[in-house]
């Protein structure tokens, strides 16, 4: 299962993808010189292709940005789970310490329960 580090790295990769798609848009507008086909019956086809590419690139960029947001949210949830585990580990160590010092038959309480993962995909770092 991916950890907070994996989700953070994925978010950074997706951010970079958004930037690259932005540069693709700039490149397309700069590269496709309408004058090259001007006057031919292919002008409309070139225009339509460029419009389609611009629209689809904007949609893909938005989706990558949303996926990056999703990854960051998941990373945060994984981090919260990590900190719950740290707390649990310190409580269980304390429990073992008390249990080791207790006399036979002395009540030391119940051992602390480990935290449940908030979602199936959550894993500890």
């Amino acid at each position: 299962m991916p950890t907070a580090t994996d989700f953070d790295a994925a978010a950074r990769d997706l951010d970079a993808a958004v930037e690259r798609l932005q540069s693709f848009t700039w490149g397309l507008v700069r590269t496709v010189d309408p004058a090259a086909m001007s006057g031919s019956s292919l002008t409309a086809l070139v225009d339509r292709s460029v419009e389609t590419l611009l629209t689809e690139t904007a949609a893909a960029g938005t989706q990558c940005a949303l996926l990056a947001t999703l990854c960051r949210q998941r990373a945060e949830i994984c981090r919260r789970y990590d900190s719950l585990w740290v707390g649990y580990e310190s409580r269980i160590a304390e429990f073992h310490r008390i249990a080791a010092m207790a006399s036979p038959g002395e009540y030391v309480g119940s051992p602390p329960m480990p935290p449940s993962p908030p979602a199936p995909w959550v894993d500890r770092s």
Binding site: P2, L14, T52
Partner: protein, 367 residues
């Protein structure tokens, strides 16, 4: 160097640029698929990867079109071999058809967003409260925006009417402005929303260049071009729909104001396109007049919906206040009558200027 050679070189340069650009969506699709595998977000990222594949394929095909056109333009020799023209045209047509087919089969951006939204809906819920934003943004892009824009089903097209009203108002202001010029014609980037968006973009380090570009001459040129393309598309599709109705007299008898709204809407698209191509007070006036006719016809066509909506709102108010029912119905009929009068007045204004519109959209009067 002849003009022909210059254009051949230009087409070859575009093809070279597109060949390099095509790697961008290919690389990004690889990144998205790798990230998806690493984070177990395969279903969520699938639509994005497919969309990026489609962008790469279209870019490659466009590159092929430019390269083939340049190659064929160079190889054709009308004097030595007149038949070579047919061969060259056939080669170019084949590539163009493939690109057209690709555009036709292309992953529609809205469909892709819908697929993305469906895939991330569960993930958003999993990720907690903040992740609802993913769902909300996706929902807005796919459904809410479309509903607001179209009026949903056969209802009053609120979005286009608002957009049309803004366009009419800005065109009127442009006609009245003392310093008119093609560079000040009303476009998205120099309107209220566009200026605010550009200013918002400029607050971000990453997006600031986009904001500056929007406000610059390159942005203005692209928005103007996009407006022309959109206008031509609206005019052609509107004309096609009108042609499906057959005989205009019969169509008017059958559909009444709805048919007039369709005709005026198409004329509005046409006159707006003409205005963007040749911005003069005459073309701007044609746009304003056709817009008013179209808005009046739409309101008149949907007068029953408007009256029903007004009635429902009034009922809510009356129920809430506990006022007498007969007071409500008398007020409903008054307000409905007022709307009906307004629509009639707009319609009368519209029909008075139909003659003017007819001459304004006549291509012989554009120049």
């Amino acid at each position: 160097m002849t003009t022909h050679e210059v254009r051949t070189d230009a087409a070859r340069a575009v093809a070279g640029g597109l060949a390099m650009l095509a790697w961008n969506p290919i690389d990004n699709a690889t990144v998205v698929r790798t990230v998806a595998r690493r984070t177990h977000l395969i279903a969520e990222a699938d639509a994005t990867a497919i969309l990026l594949d489609s962008i790469a394929a279209t870019t490659r095909s466009l590159e092929h079109l430019f390269r083939t056109t340049a190659d064929e333009a160079e190889s054709v020799d009308l004097l030595a071999d007149p038949a070579s023209l047919t061969t060259s045209l056939s080669a170019i047509t084949g590539v163009a058809r493939r690109l057209e087919g690709l555009l036709g089969d292309d992953v529609d951006a809205f469909s892709a967003t819908e697929a993305f939204n469906t895939a991330t809906r569960g993930s958003a819920a999993d990720a907690g409260g903040g992740a609802g934003g993913v769902d909300a943004v996706g929902g807005f892009l796919v459904g809410d925006l479309a509903n607001v824009w179209s009026g949903g089903g056969d209802g009053l097209p609120v979005g286009p009417l608002i957009a049309g009203g803004i366009r009419i108002g800005r065109s009127t202001a442009w006609i009245a402005a003392p310093a008119r010029s093609p560079s000040t014609i009303p476009l998205f980037n120099n309107g209220g929303a566009g200026v605010r968006l550009a200013s918002l973009l400029q607050r971000s380090d990453q997006l600031a260049p986009v904001g500056r570009w929007m406000q610059g001459p390159a942005g203005t040129a692209l928005f103007r071009r996009a407006g022309i393309v959109g206008g031509v598309y609206g005019t052609v599709t509107g004309g096609w729909e009108l042609a499906q109705h057959g005989n205009p007299v019969d169509a008017y008898r059958e559909h009444g104001a709805g048919y007039v709204a369709d005709v005026a809407g198409t004329a509005f698209s046409a006159s707006t396109t003409v205005f963007l191509l040749a911005p003069t007070p005459a073309t701007a006036t044609a746009g304003v007049v056709t817009g008013v006719v179209w808005a009046g016809a739409e309101v008149w066509d949907h007068r029953d919906d408007i009256m029903e909506w007004t009635s429902e709102q009034w009922d809510r108010v009356v129920d809430g206040a506990g006022a007498a029912w007969d007071l409500g119905t008398s007020a409903v009929s008054t307000s409905a009558g007022a709307i009906s009068d307004t629509a009639s007045s707009a319609w009368d204004t519209g029909t008075d200027v139909v003659g003017a519109v007819g001459s304004a959209i006549d291509p012989r009067s554009w120049f």
